[in-house]
């Protein structure tokens, strides 16, 4: 019997706390109830909405409070898993992705794009020259230029082959310039 009393007591305290915390947030709702009480606007619908249903809800939750804890914990775990997945799949360059150290001059020669129809500017990286200039200007002091190549899996499990250049400064690999990015999933994946 004592265990039943303790069980119901815990449930009552827990649900009271949750309800009050919700009601404090919904301050406008409280104000409306108080206003209704002052003005004695008690229709049948009012009693059902403001008194009967909340009381039934309160009683049910007080008796089944372990479920409340279960759902609260499941929700917390789900959010934590999502955050962890987001962090794991955030694109970053690791030391293992580095291919070779290079100089700016070497890269600018290697990345000149030639087109027989002259449909590309005669600048390093062609139409992507603006991105190269911004990357170049963002060089951290004393950083080395490296090329990288990696396979990256995004949040939804799609795989990409990515290549480009990165500034290596002490152990930091940032900022980077992506020059090649191709999804390695089946192109018809979205058509079936």
């Amino acid at each position: 019997m004592i265990w039943l009393v303790i069980y119901i007591f815990i449930g009552t305290v827990l649900v009271t706390t949750v309800t009050l915390s919700d009601k404090v947030k919904a301050y406008a709702e409280w104000k409306k109830i108080v206003r209704d009480l002052k003005n004695k606007r008690f229709s049948g619908r009012w009693w059902i909405q403001q008194a009967l249903l909340p009381t039934i809800g309160f009683l049910i939750m007080s008796l089944t409070w372990p479920l409340l804890l279960y759902f609260w914990n499941a929700d917390r775990l789900k959010k934590s898993r999502r955050d962890r997945r987001e962090e794991e799949t955030r694109f970053r360059i690791r030391r293992a992705d580095l291919v070779a150290r290079c100089s700016v001059a070497e890269v600018e020669i290697a990345e000149k794009i030639i087109d027989p129809m002259g449909a590309v500017p005669g600048l390093p990286f062609g139409h992507l020259n603006g991105a190269w200039v911004r990357f170049h200007d963002a060089k951290p002091e004393a950083a080395e230029l490296w090329s990288f190549a990696t396979e990256w899996e995004d949040y939804w499990g799609n795989f990409f082959e990515r290549k480009g250049y990165v500034w290596r400064h002490q152990e930091q690999l940032h900022p980077w310039l992506l020059t090649f990015d191709v999804a390695t999933n089946d192109v018809l994946g979205n058509s079936d």
Partner: protein, 163 residues
Amino acid sequence: MTAQISEGLILNGEEVSLLSNPLDSYFALAGINPEFSSNSTALWRGYIGTWEITADRLYLINLQGTLKNGGVICLETIFPGFPDRVFAHWYSGTLRIPRGKLIRYRHMGYGSKFEKDELIKIRLGIVITTEIIINGVAPSGAKEGYKVGAMTVFPRQSKSEDN
């Protein structure tokens, strides 16, 4: 999401629908995000590009769209100094061209299924391989060609309304 209006591709002199958006890769790699205005649920990207494959190279030869500020865009808006033709050297991926009759219409993205798909693999703007995938046989009376079944068109805000 509504089925999307395709890009255009001129391939061996024939104009076909292109169910891929190579320009999106350009915006991602170049780190730019032009604010296209979309006036239809069938064109969320806000532009239509016409592409051409010539001598195994992919070119963008026309671009139509409107910016949120009301400005009309053309090739030179995005690629200054290149009003007629832009070599898509940034693009690597697979171009999908629907062939034959419609097997199943799907009112989402480029999700409809056709009897065949011509897949052109491109690496850094250059054609690597071309293959035809057979998806099945369309029911009798099925229509040929890529089309969007329905869309909602929003009235475009005029410049004077913006001001």
